[in-house]
C-alpha cells in the first residue's frame, strides 16, 4: 500500500464515524466577552486586566462511542493597570482538537448523561504589548513585549447532561500533560533599530511535563434548539495558566459567549 492509500484509509476511519445514523454534529460559532487578567513578571510586576472580546468557531461530533471536538478561538483585550499611564494590548488565539471516548452514560433525574475521557492536542499563542504614555510624542511607547506560545498534548474529560433532543449542558476540562513552550529570552535581544527589538518570536521552546506549564481550561456549554436545524449556545470558559520561565507568568480569563450552531 502506498502512502496515499494509507492516508485515504486513515481519513475514512476518521470521517465515517462522523456520519453514523445516531450521530449528532454541531458546527457553529460564538461571540462574547472576555474578562482577562495577567501578571507577567518578565514584562512588568503589575497586574493588568480588563474586559475584551471573545470569539470562536467549533465543530462537535457526538457519536455512540465518543466525541470529536475542534475549536478555534480568539480573544482580544486592551488591558489596564492601577496606573493610568500603563496599558497593554493583549490577544490570544488557539486551536484544539479533542477526541474522547464515552466512559459511562448513567441516568440522572430521568435524563441521560455522558461521561467522556480522552485527550486533545492544541496550540495557543498569547501576546501582550506593554505600553506607557510618552508625553513628548503624545503617544504610547512600547515598554516591552511578551508572549507565551504553547503546544500541548492534554488530558480531557467531559460531562454531558442531555435535557432533550439537541438540548444539553456539557462541561469539559483540559489540562496539558506534555507541552512545548516558547517564551522571550531572559533579556531583550535587539536588532538596534528597536522595531523588532526583543520580539523575534520562536515557534518552539522548552518541552515541559505536567505540572510545569500548568494550565486548566474549563468549558461550560448550554445548547438548545432555536429554529429548524439551528441551536443557540451559551458558553462560559474559565482559563488559567501558570509558567515560570524566564520569569513567572500567570493569567486567567472568564469568557462568556453566545453562539449559533447548525445541527445535522
Amino acid at each position: 500500500m502506498n502512502p496515499k492509500q494509507v492516508l485515504s484509509k486513515l481519513s475514512l476511519l476518521f470521517f465515517i464515524p462522523l456520519f453514523y445514523m445516531n450521530a449528532q454534529n454541531y458546527v457553529g460559532g460564538g461571540f462574547g466577552g472576555s474578562d482577562f487578567h495577567i501578571l507577567d513578571e518578565h514584562a512588568s510586576q503589575l497586574i493588568f486586566g480588563s474586559i475584551g472580546i471573545a470569539s470562536g468557531i467549533q465543530f462537535i461530533h457526538k457519536g455512540e462511542m465518543g466525541l470529536h471536538n475542534v475549536e478555534i478561538s480568539y480573544y482580544n483585550n486592551y488591558l489596564s493597570s492601577p496606573s493610568s499611564n500603563f496599558n497593554t494590548e493583549s490577544w490570544r488565539a488557539g486551536i484544539r482538537y479533542t477526541y474522547m471516548l464515552l466512559a459511562a452514560n448513567p441516568e440522572l433525574f430521568g435524563k441521560t448523561c455522558g461521561v467522556y475521557f480522552g485527550g486533545s492536542v492544541g496550540t495557543f499563542f498569547s501576546r501582550q504589548d506593554y505600553y506607557y504614555y510618552y508625553k513628548p510624542a503624545e503617544a504610547n511607547a512600547v515598554a516591552d513585549v511578551s508572549w507565551i506560545w504553547s503546544h500541548s498534548v492534554d488530558i480531557s474529560a467531559e460531562f454531558d447532561y442531555n435535557i432533550a433532543e439537541r438540548e444539553y449542558v456539557s462541561g469539559q476540562i483540559d489540562m496539558p500533560l506534555l507541552s512545548n513552550i516558547s517564551r522571550p529570552e531572559y533579556s531583550s535581544s535587539g536588532d538596534y533599530n528597536y522595531s523588532e527589538n526583543t520580539w523575534k518570536i520562536k515557534m518552539f521552546g522548552t518541552t515541559e511535563l505536567f505540572p510545569n506549564n500548568f494550565s486548566l481550561d474549563f468549558h461550560l456549554n448550554y445548547q438548545r434548539p432555536l429554529y429548524w436545524n439551528f441551536n443557540i449556545q451559551f458558553s462560559y470558559e474559565f482559563y488559567y495558566s501558570f509558567y515560570n520561565k524566564p520569569s513567572d507568568i500567570r493569567m486567567y480569563a472568564n469568557n462568556f459567549c453566545g453562539g449559533l450552531f447548525y445541527c445535522f
Partner: protein, 349 residues
C-alpha cells in the same frame, strides 16, 4: 433541574471571578517602599553593568529603603529613588514620573551644562556655506579658505515620527565634499541614538569591516550571568560614496552612547584621529523599561558593551587622540579649540 443548573453556573462564575488574588497573587502595594523595592529588584536581576560598577547594591537598597515609609510623600519618594539610582552613575538609567513632568538621568555628566560647544560659533566663524539634510540632523559645508569639509551630526536617533532613512542623506554630504583633502566629522553634544543609523553613516568613512565592540546579554538574575559575546560589526556598503582620506572626529563629554560606538569605529581607522574631549562613557545597550506602581518608568540597559579584548569604557569614556578641551569662556570669546586642533591636524603635511 434548570434552576439548579443555572444556580450552579452562577456560583461557579462568581467564585472564579472573585479569586484574582489566589490566581495571580496580590496586587503590588502602591507604597513608596514597594515602589523602591520593585525598582531595586528589577535592576538587581536585570541591569547588565554591575560587573563594571563599584557599587554594593544590597547596601544601597538598605540605605535608601530606610528613608521611606508609608507616609513619605511622592516628592520625597522621588528624591530618595533618584538618589538611589545616582549610585549607578549611568547615562542609560532614566527615571520618569507618571505625568512626564519630572525626569532624572543617573549620570553625573548629565547634570553638567553642555557649554563647551556652539554650533552657531562653528557656522559663523569657520564655515563658508552650510547645508542641512537628514531631517535636520546633518549639517555640512566647507571650512572657509581651506579645502577641508565639515559634517555635523546632531543625533543618531530618529526624529519623532520618522524612520531611519534620514541617515542615508550622509551620501549627499560625502559626495559633495569628496574633493576635499580632509573632513571634520563633529559629533559633539550628540547624545546617541540608534546603532543602525550610525552604521549607515559610518559606512561612508571606513575602508574595511570592523568588529568594534562585543556585547553580552543578561541571561539570569546573577550580576555575572551573561550569554556569549555578540560581535558588533561595521561594514562598508557597496555602491555608496566613500571618504577614506584624512578624518578628524570631534567629540566632547556629551558625545554619548551610539556616538561612542561611532567613535570606537573611528579608533580602528589609521587615517582618523579623535580630537576634543573624552566621550560620555555610556556603554550599556538594549534598553528595557520597568513599570512601577507609582506610574513611574525606569529605563536601564540589559547588555554590557566591551571592546573585543574585554575592556569596558563605562563611566570612563573614550579618550581622544588629541585632547583639545573648550571652556565656556572659549566659546564666549569666539574660540573653538577643538576645531582649531582638527584644522591643524588636517592641514599639517
Amino acid at each position: 433541574m434548570k434552576k439548579l443548573l443555572s444556580a450552579s453556573l452562577i456560583a461557579v462564575v462568581l467564585t472564579i471571578c472573585g479569586c484574582e488574588k489566589m490566581l495571580l497573587g496580590p496586587e503590588p502595594d502602591n507604597t513608596p517602599q514597594n515602589n523602591l523595592d520593585i525598582l531595586w529588584k528589577t535592576l538587581d536581576e536585570n541591569y547588565a553593568l554591575f560587573p563594571v560598577k563599584t557599587v554594593n547594591w544590597d547596601s544601597v537598597h538598605q540605605f535608601y529603603r530606610a528613608k521611606l515609609n508609608n507616609s513619605t510623600s511622592e516628592t520625597d519618594s522621588w528624591n530618595v529613588t533618584c538618589n538611589m539610582l545616582s549610585n549607578l552613575d549611568d547615562g542609560h538609567v532614566h527615571l520618569v514620573n507618571a505625568d512626564n513632568t519630572q525626569a532624572y538621568n543617573s549620570s553625573r555628566i548629565a547634570l553638567r551644562k553642555p557649554d563647551d560647544f556652539s554650533l552657531d560659533l562653528v557656522k559663523s566663524k569657520y564655515l563658508s556655506s552650510v547645508k542641512i539634510i537628514g531631517a535636520g540632523q546633518i549639517l555640512y559645508g566647507k571650512v572657509t579658505n581651506t579645502n577641508i569639509g565639515y559634517i555635523y551630526i546632531s543625533s543618531f536617533g530618529n526624529p519623532l515620527g520618522s524612520g531611519s532613512n534620514w541617515a542615508n542623506d550622509i551620501d549627499i554630504a560625502v559626495q559633495e565634499l569628496s574633493a576635499c583633502d580632509g573632513l571634520i566629522i563633529d559629533i559633539r553634544n550628540n547624545g546617541g541614538g540608534l546603532v543602525v543609523t550610525l552604521r549607515t553613516i559610518v559606512a561612508d568613512f571606513i575602508d574595511h569591516d570592523i568588529n568594534y565592540f562585543d556585547q553580552r546579554a543578561k541571561t539570569g538574575p546573577g550580576h555575572n550571568e551573561f550569554g556569549p559575546p555578540i560581535h558588533l560589526l561595521a561594514g562598508r556598503s557597496s555602491g555608496r560614496p566613500s571618504f577614506t582620506k584624512k578624518l578628524a572626529l570631534l567629540t566632547n563629554r556629551f558625545s554619548g552612547s551610539a556616538s561612542e560606538h561611532f567613535t570606537q569605529i573611528f579608533k580602528n581607522l589609521s587615517y582618523a584621529k579623535q580630537i576634543g574631549d573624552t566621550t560620555f562613557g555610556a556603554f550599556g545597550d538594549i534598553i528595557n523599561t520597568i513599570e512601577l506602581p507609582f506610574g513611574w518608568t525606569c529605563t536601564y540597559p540589559c547588555r554590557l558593551t566591551t571592546t573585543p579584548e574585554g575592556k569596558c569604557f563605562e563611566g570612563i569614556g573614550i579618550v581622544p587622540d588629541i585632547l583639545a578641551e573648550n571652556t565656556k569662556n572659549d566659546i564666549s570669546a569666539g574660540r573653538d579649540i577643538a576645531m582649531n586642533a582638527a584644522l591643524a591636524y588636517l592641514t599639517w603635511k
